[in-house]
């Protein structure tokens, strides 16, 4: 018998950012109604799993949480991330063919450094999953395809210098929507050039153009990249009825995309048309993952032919796709020194605004241009809330399979930073040894977790 599709449905009916916030208890209520009324969990092709909690170490492996993991996560976050891990385990154990974590709260705007909540996210569920799979199951190459209307800037940030993680995001043009990034020139750092691809779409784009992007960019690139595991960051706010986005995708369009991509796992991200879109989209995605007929899933106010593509906007997307395809194919011969400059380190300066918590972050990120491994990462970040003393942190991240030189230099950097008064907290995230350290100056105390 063919393997089943695993589902974890965790609507967190007792968790909200605030009572009227889009990320509130009601968000998956109608999705629950639709899925339960359809009897989806009874289908022989479906297996429902219970959620579990991710460990604090699973989070620390990915994020520098300021001041500590415990202060950035609630139990709901650990359950959402843990649900993704639960299904990831089941897929790799061969118990199920693929999985869909329909969970709240979402995570794709959470970056490596977390001063607070931005874009409704604290913890990046997909990134936690990716590093868990690499650590626990020894996977190397993983692809994340982000189908949320908002640019998956958190996921991009975390894997920007990681050549083993392919990140592709298609989303509404950042000039017209949060978070204002995700342009086609954001292609990854010197160590991972071309493994970040962004397709910004002008407002009003629909299924037809989505299909063009998938057929002409996403699928060919995935075929080249040969990932061992594909994750869909399944935001649903590209839907034509979404109150935050301005796109025109339909449930059918999302299902076709899911069928073609055939991801090992999908993790729910945004989507705030909680009545008009989510019940139908989630159902269609589940059916597509389970290889069942989704042609009967129709939004009540949709009829075939309701939307026609604006030719000019569509051709704009086509041009972006052609450009990125070209970048991808020529990435091997790109002149990295010309693009990123010479020297041992590549440095970029970032200003990050936390829209939910009103925090402004200034950050300098440096990556070692190592030729033996993907290079360690240094982060110097200052988070400022209007009403209190800014917090400054220093974080060191050692990648999977780091070379000896990088490891040594990284630990040196960590111990140097611990001595400097300007840093309130200093972090070491050693993925090669699966050890995380967290030093707090005021208490002169260091915590450590190990996998």
């Amino acid at each position: 018998m063919e393997k089943k599709t695993g589902l974890i449905f965790f609507p967190a009916f007792d968790w909200a950012i605030s009572p009227t916030h889009p990320e509130r208890e009601e968000r998956l209520l109608y999705t629950r109604d639709q899925i339960f009324e359809e009897g989806v969990m009874d289908l022989p092709q479906i297996r429902e799993f219970a959620p579990r909690l991710a460990s604090l170490h699973d989070i620390a492996r990915v994020h520098f949480c300021v001041p500590r993991v415990q202060s950035q996560v609630t139990e709901a976050h650990l359950i959402a991330a843990g649900s993704a891990l639960q299904l990831g385990d089941a897929v790799l154990a061969g118990e199920i063919k693929n999985g869909f974590a329909m969970v709240r709260p979402p995570g794709h705007h959470a970056m490596r450094t977390v001063h607070g909540n931005r874009g409704f996210c604290n913890i990046n569920n997909e990134a936690v999953l990716v590093d868990y799979l690499r650590r626990r199951h020894g996977l190397k190459r993983i692809a994340i395809i982000d189908s949320d209307v908002h640019h998956g800037d958190g996921t991009q940030d975390i894997f920007y210098h990681d050549p083993d993680v392919l990140f592709i995001s298609f989303h509404q043009d950042g000039r017209t929507i949060f978070p204002g990034t995700g342009f086609s020139h954001e292609l990854g750092g010197p160590q991972a050039y071309g493994t970040t691809l962004n397709i910004p779409m002008p407002p009003g784009i629909g299924d037809e153009t989505l299909s063009y992007i998938v057929d002409n960019l996403i699928m060919p690139v995935i075929e080249d990249f040969k990932p061992e595991f594909i994750i869909n960051s399944a935001g649903q706010d590209n839907h034509y009825s979404d109150p935050l986005g301005s796109m025109r995708f339909t449930a059918r369009g999302y299902a076709d995309f899911t069928r073609k991509l055939n991801p090992d796992m999908a993790v729910l991200e945004g989507g705030y048309a909680i009545e008009t879109a989510l019940p139908y989209l989630n159902l269609a995605i589940i059916l597509a993952l389970a290889r069942l007929d989704y042609s009967y899933v129709l939004e009540p106010d949709y009829w075939p032919g309701r939307f026609t593509e604006n030719a000019e906007r569509a051709s704009k997307v086509h041009r972006t796709v052609d450009y990125l395809r070209d970048v991808w194919e020529k990435r091997g011969s790109a002149d990295i020194a010309k693009i990123f400059g010479k020297g041992d380190f590549y440095q970029r300066k970032k200003f990050v605004f936390y829209d939910t918590d009103y925090i402004e972050e200034e950050q300098i990120e440096r990556v070692k241009k190592c030729s033996n491994c993907t290079g360690y990462l240094l982060v110097d970040s200052k988070g400022e809330r209007g009403y209190r003393v800014p917090v400054r942190i220093y974080g060191v991240s050692v990648p999977f399979g780091a070379c000896e030189v990088c490891q040594r230099e990284a630990y040196d950097a960590y111990y140097q930073a611990k001595k400097k008064k300007e840093y309130d907290y200093v972090y070491m995230q050693d993925k090669s040894l699966d050890t995380c350290l967290n030093y707090e100056r005021d208490k002169n105390h260091e915590w450590s977790t190990e996998g």
Binding site: D14, T20, E37, G39, A76, Y296
Partner: protein, 560 residues
């Protein structure tokens, strides 16, 4: 005095309880005519007692289970209104399904209107195929029953003598396919069940028993017999519920135990967690059909005292079939009972024939009769112990939809393994040893099921859903929907409304005492926000009467 009667597949058991004591018990074989077996057992326990001493009678019967499994019911035609969603090819149900256009959404708003000519066409087709029973079921009919009512009215207008059942009245919970099955089976069995109920009531009053009569449901609760004709399928699988309640009554309160009922060909397992029988998270499955019937979490393992044991190559294998009694009792093939006999763990049958059976089985493998018997017993014990462990893990892994539910997940392991049923004695102590628990075979174990029936209490539930923006509320269990014109409706009012309905239902089901002690299983409030403004609230409240049993046997007069 209280009477409990369990009409099981092989035996019909009856007990007469008086102030925590078992006054009389009886065991008679179940014949094809269930009623005559029932009365025979009743007459046996009533010998020497007058009918007017009886305060209450509770029955548990396989009647509906048998009807369904043996497919001895009239065919039912289906008129379904599924609308968009899953492909309609999922909606065949091994029955004549007529799918008509029309649809409601999750909040009971009409998405697609009904079409008169399509309804008429379905009715004409059903009439042409000679159906007289029709189930009308719509997706989300528990949120808005208008479509079902309109279609049912058209059927009745055309054919007033047809029996028509509507989905929202049978099963108000979410899950359309299960609602279809529940409605179809209700439609199929009601007529025969009504006849059975009338016969029982007649026969009891002939014997001078005028006490109220109840029937046991799969969830271990009872219903007054006359009211149960509304929901005949709630009585399926009441047998395992009876045994479980029996064990609850025969063991001290508050224990975590596994109930192991080893019968001829199957072993039924049930869990009692901290004194409360565990309910299944989903409705019962019967004959390949998934229903909405709430049932105890019971697992049936196809191994029993009479199962056939055979050698295949170098392995010894137990089959789920029975081909007559054990070899030691004159049967054709070796069975686990023969193994027990060889090991001296039972006195059933003939010792020499049992040895012969084990010898024949083990000889080609170079095993003595004793060694073979040990092997067979180990097999049975392994199978059962593994299933018990599996039940516990399954319970731990049940989905949770709220943060507190995930945090509350606990691990529990049984402190006792309680054996009931014919084959229990030989195996229980070893199963318990395997699980690190104490073995218990309580007194009256052979009639634990009848005791369970006797101590069972009525259970009633009310699930209230209020949608203040749409301006209506519904009571799931009653298929009731009514307008509610109060946009300031509060959570307190919702709880009061739910309690009011619980009492209303209690009256309807002949429970005359007022329920003050309402158990709240779930109370949830969802703020409905549109464009950053709160436009309404959805309340989801689930209440029930306290669950429990009349009392514990041997507790010295505590049984009322």
């Amino acid at each position: 005095m209280f009477i409990g009667i369990d009409v099981g597949g092989t035996f019909t058991d009856a007990v007469l309880l008086d102030r925590g004591c078992v006054r009389a018990s009886a065991k008679v074989p179940t014949r094809d005519d269930l009623l005559s077996s029932l009365l025979e057992a009743l007459d046996k326990i009533m010998k020497g007692f007058s009918g007017d001493l009886v305060e209450r009678v509770v029955l548990s019967t396989t009647m509906i289970t048998n009807l369904i499994v043996e497919k001895k019911y009239d065919p039912v035609g289906l008129i379904l209104i599924p609308g968009p969603g899953l492909s309609h090819k999922h909606y065949q149900f091994h029955a004549d399904s007529h799918i008509i256009p029309g649809a409601m959404d999750y909040r009971g708003r009409e998405i697609i209107p009904l079409r008169r000519e399509e309804i008429e066409k379905a009715i004409i087709d059903l009439a042409a195929e000679d159906y007289k029973k029709v189930a009308v079921v719509g997706k989300f009919s528990s949120r808005n029953n208008r479509h079902e009512k309109e279609v049912a009215a058209r059927v009745r207008w055309n054919y007033p003598d047809w029996q028509v059942e509507m989905g929202h009245q049978v099963a108000g919970q979410l899950n359309f396919p299960r609602r279809v099955v529940s409605t179809m089976l209700t439609c199929a069995t009601r007529e025969k069940y009504e006849f059975f109920v009338d016969s029982v009531i007649g026969a009891l009053s002939q014997r001078g028993i005028d006490a109220p009569v109840f029937i046991l449901k799969a969830d271990g609760g009872t219903l007054p017999l006359p009211c149960s004709t509304r929901v005949p399928i709630e009585t399926i699988f009441s047998g395992p519920a009876a045994s479980t309640l029996g064990v609850q009554a025969l063991t001290p309160p508050g224990e975590t135990s596994v109930v192991v009922d080893i019968g001829g060909t199957t072993t039924d397992l049930a869990l009692i967690l901290s004194g409360h029988p565990l309910l299944a998270s989903k409705g019962a499955a019967i004959d390949d059909y998934l229903t909405h019937v709430r049932a105890l979490a019971v697992k049936s393992v196809p191994v029993g005292g009479d199962s056939i044991v055979e050698r295949v190559g170098k392995e010894i294998i137990i089959y789920s079939e029975r081909l007559g009694p054990p070899f030691c009792q004159g049967g054709p093939l070796p069975t686990p009972t023969d193994a027990l006999r060889v090991l001296g763990l039972t006195r059933l049958g003939d010792q020499d024939r049992a040895r012969e059976a084990m010898n024949n089985l083990g000889k080609p493998l170079g095993l003595s009769a004793g060694e073979t018997a040990n092997r067979v017993c180990d097999l049975v014990i392994d199978t059962i112990a593994t299933e018990i462990q599996h039940m516990f893990t399954q319970w731990e892994q049940e989905p949770a939809y709220r943060v507190w539910e995930v945090l509350e997940k606990r691990k529990e392991r049984p402190s006792t393994v309680v054996g009931v049923g014919g084959g229990a004695a030989g195996f229980i102590s070893q199963i318990a040893a395997r699980l690190g628990a104490y073995p218990v075979i309580p007194p009256y174990a052979p009639v634990a099921n009848a005791i369970g029936a006797a101590v069972a209490l009525p259970t009633l539930e009310v699930t209230l859903r209020v949608d203040t923006e749409q301006g209506y509320y519904s009571i799931e269990e009653e298929g009731f929907q009514e307008a509610l014109d109060d946009s300031n409706f509060t959570e307190k009012q919702a709880l009061d409304l739910a309690s009011k309905w619980l009492n209303k239902r209690a009256n309807k089901y002949g429970l005359n005492q007022r329920i003050d002690d309402v158990e709240i299983i779930r109370r949830e409030v969802f703020n409905m926000v549109r464009n950053w403004v709160t436009t309404g609230k959805i309340y989801d409240v689930h209440v029930q009467t306290p669950r429990g049993i009349l009392g514990h046997i041997g507790a010295g007069g505590e049984l009322k």
